[in-house]
Symmetry: C2
Subunit: 202 residues, 2 copies
Amino acid sequence: MVLTESAVKKRTINPQEKINKVILASRKLFVEKGYGGVSIPDIVQASGVSTGAIYSHFKDKETLAKRIHAHTVDEFNDLLQSRLTGEESVQEVLKVFTYLVCELVEENPILMKYMLFMQHGGAVAGLSPICETDPFRFLQQHLRRGIEEGVVRRGQDFMVAGLSYTGVTLRAAELRMDAVLDQPLTEIRDILAENGWNAIKA
Amino acid sequence: MVLTESAVKKRTINPQEKINKVILASRKLFVEKGYGGVSIPDIVQASGVSTGAIYSHFKDKETLAKRIHAHTVDEFNDLLQSRLTGEESVQEVLKVFTYLVCELVEENPILMKYMLFMQHGGAVAGLSPICETDPFRFLQQHLRRGIEEGVVRRGQDFMVAGLSYTGVTLRAAELRMDAVLDQPLTEIRDILAENGWNAIKA
DNA sequence: GTCTATAGCCCGATAGAC
DNA sequence: GTCTATCGGGCTATAGAC
């Protein structure tokens, strides 16, 4: 294949673009086939980036997996924070979370599948559990506030309250992505938010 | 190594015992390292059964995975059914489910991890999602009855009611098995059952 | 930085003795 | 049925030209 000079230049001056391509292509493959089921040649083919280029940016396959993990958690957290002003009630914050998850399931299922399923493949050691990352810690702090304010039922740890609320939304996401639910989650997001809130409200 | 005649005999006349050893050892490894991260030599070492014997009972690695899947779903379903008389109210059936999950998380975490996490590795195609297996269909039928009887809130599909209840319990199980919760689930099973029921009750 | 080519290793599955 | 030994293949990671 013959490349124009500018095309060559473009590829040369923008390594970040390649890194992103590799991360996105690998994430898709990891979600579809599992970490151990994806080879470097698979990633080369799916991303259009050569073996050599991949190894020049990522020490090894495991390092690549860790970068994907960090990238994905950041992406989810940025989306969540961008929808919040900081003025919401506890119930409103939780509803924003549910709405976000419902929309992502339909619009960016790879991202959501990664968030829900990848950690548990057990293939890569040392990944922090999703539920210990910023977005989930953030929700937990709001639940703690809710218990203090008395709007969330007392007698339960704020961790338990958090998992009870998010369990409803996240289980719906799981079932939708396993194609067990044929209704888009965007159509039942209010029911999910209501059920979750009923689970924990005072 | 020298084997006594009886030891040789024992191994020869009981192939089923070897099959079970392979299934249990493989399930543990699959849960810990992911399907693609486990090699046949790994299974040979963990089970004490030789390569040849494994291939004489299982066509290939994928067939082994499917047998593990069926074995595990049956095991869970048997445990659930053995705790039910058929006379329970909808709420009582759900509570039995929650109690069973909470106990299994503490007593047989490999079984529970498999139920919750393995399907989503994506490594083996053609496994029926756990939520479409007998024990979960069984719960759904009870929820349908609950809606008809008016004890479960109307305006929601029975699938949504089912996922809302089980979401609370199963998310607790996930977090406990990821070592995010340090309290045994057996100590909070009543809170989980209560939260789940509050999520869906009329 | 990026490419191709390949070294070196380990895997899944089989063959053949017992 | 069960064993050990091994084949062919595909893997991760590197080497060396550009």
